[in-house]
């Protein structure tokens, strides 16, 4: 391979980071500029040139999504923006039902005052945010373990307050980080909290990346929505050990059924449409770094505290950085336009 063709191949590999639609139109053109600008005898792209191409590819990907040029991604972002808070609430409710099954459901009045069984235990099992904060002063648990923030986020998104929801989705995890780090808690090893934090970061990003998505419940496409909620219920029940009465049947059969439901839903999502494949890929975003960080927490001897904290915080901060990058790309709207009454855009509903 000659030097020139080696360099051209390396540039082509870098250009693969651009969106396919953009590459179809501009790849040969950009390649011509890169080759013309390359110093004689160069066989590999300069580091600064490579970073410039990667950074520009990211900016163009975000910009095309914001403009709605990439329809499957635009649909996927709109779906995830709507469904993620709903799924978070569903998972909290599954935990509630499981704990209710464990401790026994009292009357609704019992549940309300937390008087059933061990006083306060049932309320704790419900993970009411006020309990965490008022009783043990644990604001970090109030922020991530209770349903309160997820309910507020879901309400904001379902009623169409997208930018307010995005701000909320940034504030909650940052408040968690601030409180945790200032109190000297370690972030490493709290896999559930990490997934929740990254889910908030992802939500902030997708709400900003898809500003022209239909607002409120109108953004929901019912088929993938129903599938994902089914999978979330199965996942939540499986993770929480199952609602107690059902556990009296065969545990293996029961768990196997739940796993089959999850797998079936994911397969249907993956084969059904390009947009749904992207929905599944986006849903994996909070889980993958959380799994990696959980594995890091098992390293022996343990990582030093600051390194563990940095590792755990990095995915969240990266998601928030990406969300911040989209801000200059957002179309300008008149003041007070973050209102729920904006009609649905045609074609996305």
């Amino acid at each position: 391979m000659t030097t020139a063709s080696g360099l051209e191949g390396a540039y082509r590999r870098l250009l693969r980071w651009y969106p396919p639609v953009y590459r179809d139109r501009h790849e040969e053109e950009i390649l011509g500029v890169l080759m013309a600008a390359a110093e004689p005898g160069r066989s590999q792209p300069a580091v600064r040139e490579s970073l410039d191409l990667l950074w520009s590819a990211l900016k163009i990907r975000i910009r095309m999504t914001v403009r709605g040029d990439s329809q499957p991604w635009a649909i996927a972002f709109a779906q995830i923006g709507m469904l993620l808070p709903v799924l978070m609430v569903v998972l909290k409710l599954i935990g509630y039902l499981e704990r209710g099954g464990w401790y026994g459901f009292g009357t609704p009045a019992d549940a309300l005052i937390g008087a059933y069984g061990d006083p306060g235990r049932y309320v704790e099992s419900f993970q009411l945010n006020a309990y965490w904060y008022a009783v043990d002063g644990n604001i970090t648990q109030a922020l991530t373990q209770g349903p309160g923030p997820a309910l507020i986020l879901a309400a904001l998104v379902l009623t169409g307050w997208r930018r307010t929801a995005a701000v909320f989705a940034v504030v909650v995890p940052l408040a968690y980080l601030g409180v945790s780090l200032s109190a000297g808690y370690t972030l490493l090893g709290g896999a559930n909290s990490d997934v929740t934090l990254y889910a908030y970061g992802l939500e902030a990003l997708v709400l900003l990346v898809a500003p022209d998505a239909p607002r409120g419940w109108r953004a929901l496409r019912w088929r993938p929505g129903a599938l994902l909620i089914t999978a979330a219920v199965a996942f939540g029940v499986a993770i929480n050990g199952g609602i107690r009465p059902l556990l009296h049947s065969s545990w293996l059969l029961y768990t196997g059924t739940l796993v089959a439901v999850i797998v079936a839903v994911l397969v249907i999502m993956l084969v059904s449409s390009p947009a749904n494949r992207r929905v599944v890929a986006l849903l994996a975003v909070p889980f993958i770094p959380a799994a990696v960080i959980y594995l890091c927490s098992l390293i022996n001897p343990p990582l030093p505290g600051p390194i563990g904290d940095t590792l755990a915080a990095a995915p969240l901060l990266l998601l928030i950085l990406l969300a911040a990058m989209t801000l200059p790309l957002l179309p300008r709207r008149p003041a007070g336009s973050d209102a729920p009454s904006r009609p649905a855009a045609p074609g996305n509903a």
Partner: protein, 112 residues
Amino acid sequence: MSDRPLHEPTFLLLTALAERPQHGYGIIGDVERMSSGRVRLRAGTLYAALDRVVAEGLVEADREEVVDGRLRRYYRLTPRGGDRLAAEVERLQHNAAIAAKRLGRRAIGGLT
């Protein structure tokens, strides 16, 4: 139309296209010459900027040609892009005139 001041690379990009259509490599060289080597657009940055100004309707593709087996696409300023550049020039001239005037007064004040 946006009233935001243009960033310098965007200003120089539009200026490079003000006189005649140019292709990507031509724009890079022209911007470097106009800024006396201070602003050097890399290919990625240039095409990200072109993507933005084309989307804003300030610049459009003019023609394509193949030179030495490589595709060259020429870009030109649209009437809207010309108006935007003229408005920016006026803004910069206005600011520069005020700054020069005040510096002049300061120099006179310093002498007395």
